[in-house]
């Protein structure tokens, strides 16, 4: 392990011809945020109708404690808390990819219509096929809907290249049209089906058990793997397409892989838990300010996304006498942030 002589802030780990380079500040921020997420997750596992101490929670997790406590923690609460952590990370990473590709903090999947596409696709599966939230048809519908929305936004905003702000304005328009489509689908549905769809559509982790969590987790882990191999290309593409090509990046292939992976992340989360807004928008920007990296980095964005969502889910469950869908909490927090960001971006451009 050596400190790079090129500035005190990078750490190089070498073993033979193998070497890994990391920024000290990025690692510290990611570790601190991850530890905080773990603490909040333990807190989330201890809260509920049966209040538990952290020691009881850990005992149940490690299998020391058997019986009812273990059932409550492992079967009832754990899938939901793990889902909050993993889905938050997925949304944060997805937002980071889009914000980095477009070089614009507004271009997150929930603003540019991809979440709306996943929602419409999932809703179509629920209403037209009678599928349940988190089932395979809903996941497939969400992924197809998200990719179709991505293709539509891309095609409409392409004019010899993609310019960030045009993509966002068109994305907002597409998003509005897809929401209208979703409303239409809901109005056409039978009452019982519409109620299932409405609960799902509010964006809630309350219905997430192991059966909903595991398929989504598989998609998320695969997409993370793909992003891991493409992140080097992504950071070169921040320099512009020509510069990235000159550095030996396969720009078209990398961009396609990145978009598909990021859409898959949003879609997997949407399929299991419904649309959860603003985590993808806010997490990369919070991470960017904490780590002060050049451009948007995926790992810290995912770490912050996990912390944001697991915290928001505690607020949703326990802050008020009635439990709220977590999507509502993220909308309230994120909405304020979006207004601030819009004002900030407009001023910067003016």
């Amino acid at each position: 392990m050596t400190l790079s002589t090129l500035g005190p802030r990078t750490l190089v780990l070498r073993s033979g011809r193998r070497s890994v380079r990391v920024r000290v500040r990025t690692v510290v921020v990611s570790v601190v945020v991850t530890v905080a997420t773990a603490l909040v997750a333990v807190l989330a596992l201890s809260l509920g109708d049966l209040p538990l101490t952290p020691a009881q929670v850990l005992g149940a997790l490690l299998g020391v404690d058997g019986g009812f406590t273990a059932t409550v923690v492992r079967e009832w609460r754990l899938p939901r808390v793990l889902a909050a952590v993993l889905f938050g990370a997925a949304l944060g990473a997805s937002g980071a990819v889009f914000q980095s590709l477009t070089r614009n903090p507004l271009a997150s999947p929930d603003v540019i219509g991809l979440s709306a596409g996943s929602y419409a696709g999932g809703l179509g599966a629920i209403i037209l096929l009678g599928a349940g939230a988190g089932s395979v048809p809903v996941s497939a519908g969400a992924i197809v809907g998200g990719l179709a929305a991505a293709a539509l936004v891309y095609a409409l905003s392409y004019r010899s290249g993609i310019q960030g702000f045009r993509l966002i304005v068109i994305g907002i328009g597409v998003s509005a049209m897809l929401q209208a489509l979703s409303t239409y689908l809901l109005l056409r549905a039978k009452l019982e089906v519409a109620m299932v769809a409405a609960v799902w559509g509010a964006g809630s982790l309350s219905a997430v058990g192991w059966a909903q969590f595991l398929p989504a987790a598989v998609v998320v882990v695969l997409a993370f793997g793909a992003l891991g191999t493409l992140s080097g290309s992504l950071s070169r593409m921040e320099l512009g397409d020509d510069a990235a090509r000159a550095l030996g990046v396969r720009v078209e292939g990398a961009r396609l892989g990145l978009v598909v992976s990021a859409v898959a992340l949003t879609a997997a989360v949407t399929a299991a838990a419904g649309p959860i807004a603003f985590v993808a928008l806010a997490a990369p920007q919070i991470a960017h300010r904490l780590t002060r990296t050049a451009g948007i980095a995926i790992v810290p964005s995912a770490a912050v996304g996990a912390l944001v969502l697991v915290t928001a889910d505690i607020v949703a469950q326990h802050a008020l006498p009635t439990a709220l869908p977590v999507g509502l909490v993220t909308v309230v927090i994120g909405g304020a942030y979006l207004v601030w960001l819009l004002i900030h971006e407009t001023r910067r451009r003016a």
Binding site: T5, G7, D242, A243, R245, A246, L247, G248, A294, G295
Partner: protein
């Protein structure tokens, strides 16, 4: 002057979408030369450079590097031999000089080989050669235009390619910074790099270039050492400008003075 070429194009037809810029263009870049491509606006000089860098795929014809078609190279393999400084590049928000220069090492890196001693040495060398070592910890956004362009060149140098292509590297620089940059390029060339640059300023091209390629409407009109080919007739043909060519009082290389209508003394 005509050393064997590593990079050469044969019978190229290139263009964007359906608009053809060049047809049946053949060119070879003398190894070890400082080749400068000159021509009027929209004459196809940048297009030619982009085809040499494989940013554009020709509709017909082939660009070859060491006898092998560019299309047969893996992207990273090519990027270890041919570097490019594009006309426009974007510095990500909040990037420092050393971070940006280090990104030039990408073609030499892999998933399990992210930062070798060679990478470190190449980055240090590139910053020393461009006089940007003192700026290492500064943010790229805070630099002056001249400094910033030197940082981009440092990034291209860190790539350590024997051949470096530069698309209008002096645009947006004031005259002093233009000269500074041209001298830096001359030094790099003297140390063994083959350079190919697209330039607007004919006098600078003639002074610093060792091999000139004059392009008009996608064709090569004239090619050779500046002293041999920069003549009033060539300038008139390529740029449609009547002029007088005299030896530059400092360098002795051809210097072009326009014959216009206004402010013409003693003629």
């Amino acid at each position: 002057m005509t050393a064997p070429a590593r990079l050469a194009a044969d019978g190229l037809t290139i263009g964007y979408d359906r608009r053809i810029i060049s047809e049946n263009l053949s060119v070879s870049i003398p190894d070890g030369s400082f080749t400068v491509i000159v021509g009027a606006n929209a004459s196809g000089k940048s297009t030619l450079l982009r085809a040499l860098a494989r940013l554009l795929t020709p509709t017909s014809g082939t660009v070859r590097l060491d006898g092998r078609p560019l299309g047969d190279y893996q992207p990273k393999e090519l990027a270890r031999v041919v570097g490019l400084l594009p006309q426009t590049s974007i510095a990500p928000d909040g990037i420092t000089v050393v971070d940006l220069v280090a990104r030039g090492r990408y073609p030499h890196q892999g998933f399990l080989r992210q930062w070798s001693a060679d990478d470190e040495a190449a980055v240090t060398q590139a910053m020393d050669a461009t006089g940007t070592a003192d700026l290492a910890e500064r943010l790229v956004a805070e630099l002056s235009g001249g400094q910033r362009q030197r940082v981009w060149i440092a990034m291209a140098l860190a790539q350590q390619t024997p051949i470096l292509l530069l698309d209008e590297p002096t645009t947006f620089l004031d005259i002093a910074h233009q000269i500074e940059l041209m001298e830096l390029l001359t030094d790099l060339n003297a140390r063994g790099r083959t350079l190919v640059a697209v330039l607007h300023d004919l006098n600078q091209a003639a002074r610093y270039g060792s091999h000139l390629i004059a392009v008009k409407e996608g064709r090569i009109v004239s090619e050779g050492a500046p002293g041999d080919i920069v003549t009033a007739a060539m300038v008139e043909e390529v740029f449609g400008l009547r002029c007088v060519v005299t030896p530059d009082p400092v360098s002795g290389t051809p210097s072009v003075s326009a014959l216009g209508r206004a402010r013409v003394a003693q003629r």
